[in-house]
Symmetry: C2
Subunit: 137 residues, 2 copies
Amino acid sequence: MNSHELFHTLHQLSRHLTNTLNEALKPLGLYGSQWSVIFVLKSKGSLTQKELCEYLFVEAPPMTRTIQRLVKQGYVLQVPGKDKREKLIQLTDVALKMFPLWEKTVIETNQSLMKHFPETSQEKLFHLQKSWLQQLL
Amino acid sequence: MNSHELFHTLHQLSRHLTNTLNEALKPLGLYGSQWSVIFVLKSKGSLTQKELCEYLFVEAPPMTRTIQRLVKQGYVLQVPGKDKREKLIQLTDVALKMFPLWEKTVIETNQSLMKHFPETSQEKLFHLQKSWLQQLL
DNA sequence: CCACTATAGTTACCTAGGTAACTAATTTCA
DNA sequence: TGAAATTAGTTACCTAGGTAACTATAGTGG
C-alpha cells in the first residue's frame, strides 16, 4: 500500500457512492447534492445559507446554485433573515410531503451499498476517516 | 454513526485531498487528474485511452478531455495503436524531464496530508476501503 | 460477402465543487 | 461619526466526472 492507492480507492469510493445515489434519486427529480441540503433542513430546521455551507462543508457559490435550483423546483424558500444580507432557507410544504419518499429511496440505496460491508467495518471506516479529517481541518 | 455521516465524511475527505493536491500542483501548471494520468503512464508505460480509463476508473469522455489537455501542454503524445480506432498515449520527453519535480511535489503533499495519521491507520483504512469497493464493483 | 453488433474515442451537455471578483450590508474602531 | 474592515450571498469562470449520442472502425456469423 502506498499513498496513491489509499487516495485512489477513496476517490473511487466517493464517486461510486455519489453516482449510485444520483441514479436512485433521478426518477424523483433530485440529485444527491440537493438531497443533502434537504436532509439538513429537515433535521435541523431552517438555516441560513452560511450555516448550510458550514454544515455541509461546501463553498458559497455552489451552495447558492443548489439552493436556487431547489427554489426553482419549489422545494425550498428563501426567507429574509436577521438582517438584509442574510437569507434563511426553509423547506416548503411540497418538500415536506415528498420527504418520506426521498428518504426511503436514499435509505434503501445506502443499505444496498453497504449490504456486504459489515457494520463493524463501517464503524471502523467511519472513525478512521473522521479521525483523519479532523486532523486535516 | 449512521450512513449519512459515513458518506458525508468520505466525500468531504475526498474533496479535501483533491483540493490540497490541486493547490500544490497549481504552480506547476498541473491538476491532480492530469497527474494521475501521467503517473500511470510513467509507471506502466504507454497505454491506450481505453486502458487508462480502465485503470483509473474514469469514463471515456473525461479521459478524452484530460488527455487532450495534456497533449496541448506537450506532456503526452497520441500515437496510433494496433488499429485505426486505438490511440496509444505516451509521455513526451518534456514530461519525463518534469516528472521528478511533479512527483516530489505530490509526495510532499501526500506526506503532509498524512503527517498525523499513523501508518497503521492508513493501512487499515486502505484495506477497509478496498474491501468495500471490491464488493461494490 | 455483407448486415449486424461491438468497440474506441469524440462531442454535447449536465451536475458539482472550487477560486476570484463583486455587490450590498453590517460591524469595527479611531 | 465615518472610513475601513468584515460579512453574506452572487456572478463568472474553471476543472472534473458522468450520460447520451455519435462517428469510424473492427469483429462476428449467417
